[in-house]
Subunit: 221 residues, 2 copies
């Protein structure tokens, strides 16, 4: 066990990848950003957006790069899901992949970049088939998302700048995939004290109109 610094150089090295589980929210459904894979193996298969970590960036930076190349978004908050390190998880090579997830405002990004990358949004409750262990990554990310949503405001990035309480409720209903009671939801949200009510109302979805709200502050874990 006594070695000098050549100890490092005697070790195996591996490709290290990142895969991004990108959630968005549209038409009251949680959406997942996927793309058609452009190279072998599994060319044409549905895949999470990913990439390889390069020398001059941290693993997290790498995930942020992948996502911002795809969406042109900056200042994205990404969080780790887990590492996927099975030997044959990628049939093309031994690749250790680290999954990250992010929540983005589906309307705020650059549509044309998605098209360029053969990327599109799928409804998370509908069926679709991802390659490799990507389904596991999505499942793990959803689990984290659900746990998180119970404790603290998510929705920063999933919601547009101004939104109504019925819209926010739809988001939570989509995350948990179940209907919530309007009064209990509002009570809970208001007790958490992270929203500011605006004077403006949104009449796009009702005659009466619903008040707009904004997040008070960015609260990051």
């Amino acid at each position: 066990m006594t070695q000098n610094s050549t100890y490092y150089s005697s070790q195996n090295s591996f490709l290290v990848a990142v895969d991004c589980v990108i959630f968005g929210f549209k038409d009251n459904k949680i959406r997942l950003l996927v793309h058609k894979r452009a190279f072998e193996p599994a060319v044409g298969g549905l895949s999470l957006m990913g990439g390889f970590v390069s020398e001059n960036e941290s693993v997290l930076q790498s995930a942020i790069r992948v996502l911002s190349n795809l969406t042109s978004l900056k200042n994205i908050y990404m969080e780790q899901v887990a590492v996927y390190g099975e030997i044959n998880r990628d049939p093309g090579a031994r690749v250790v992949s680290c999954a990250f997830y992010a929540l983005i405002d589906i309307s705020a990004h650059d549509e044309s970049l998605l098209v360029q990358n053969n990327a599109f949004w799928v409804n998370i409750n509908k069926s679709y088939e991802l390659i490799f262990d990507h389904p596991q990554m999505v499942e793990d990310a959803l689990k984290i998302l659900r746990n998180k949503a119970a404790i603290q405001p998510i929705g920063f990035n999933l919601m547009p700048d101004k939104f109504t309480l019925p819209q926010l409720q739809s988001l939570y209903e989509a995350i948990y995939d179940q209907a919530l009671d309007k009064r209990n939801f509002r009570k809970k949200i208001q007790s958490m004290d992270f929203l500011v009510k605006l004077k403006e109302v949104d009449k796009s979805s009702s005659k009466k109109g619903a008040f707009y709200y904004q997040f008070k502050d960015i609260i990051k874990d």
Copy 2:
């Protein structure tokens, strides 16, 4: 973006390590297994037990190998903490490390192996200084442990086969680093219904004696 399989081979590869955050429980304190590092850089510094992932094993297997080499324990349940991927986190080389944590019965492992590896237990609440980003790994692991303990029985591995309720309470008190009410603790534990009361009592710490209990079943997440 259209590539063939040489796409893989054009990428950087990295050393991938595992670091093990090993918790034990002794004298009513949570202990952490650390060792004196045997090679540069930071030779002699306090470090988590770690190692490099090799070609013929998954990342998880690698962590299990490291831990079982050190303790001779088999069938250890390890869980991921996170990936640590900053560029300069290890001054010796670019190393992406994946931390795992485990809970082990401190009395059940092979003491002499620890000595051979310059390894020993430190009290987690006392001060000690770990190298690199290992303090962060420990902190992150503790956070996970605390969250988990609230929901489901941990302690399988931290406790000996038979244990008393006061002992188990001490474990929880150590995990949360705060005193718990005896009656509330017992009520909660009993409502979770995972213990079996034995007829035998432990008189080692009181005159009256405390009943031994065992875990009913292995319940894994």
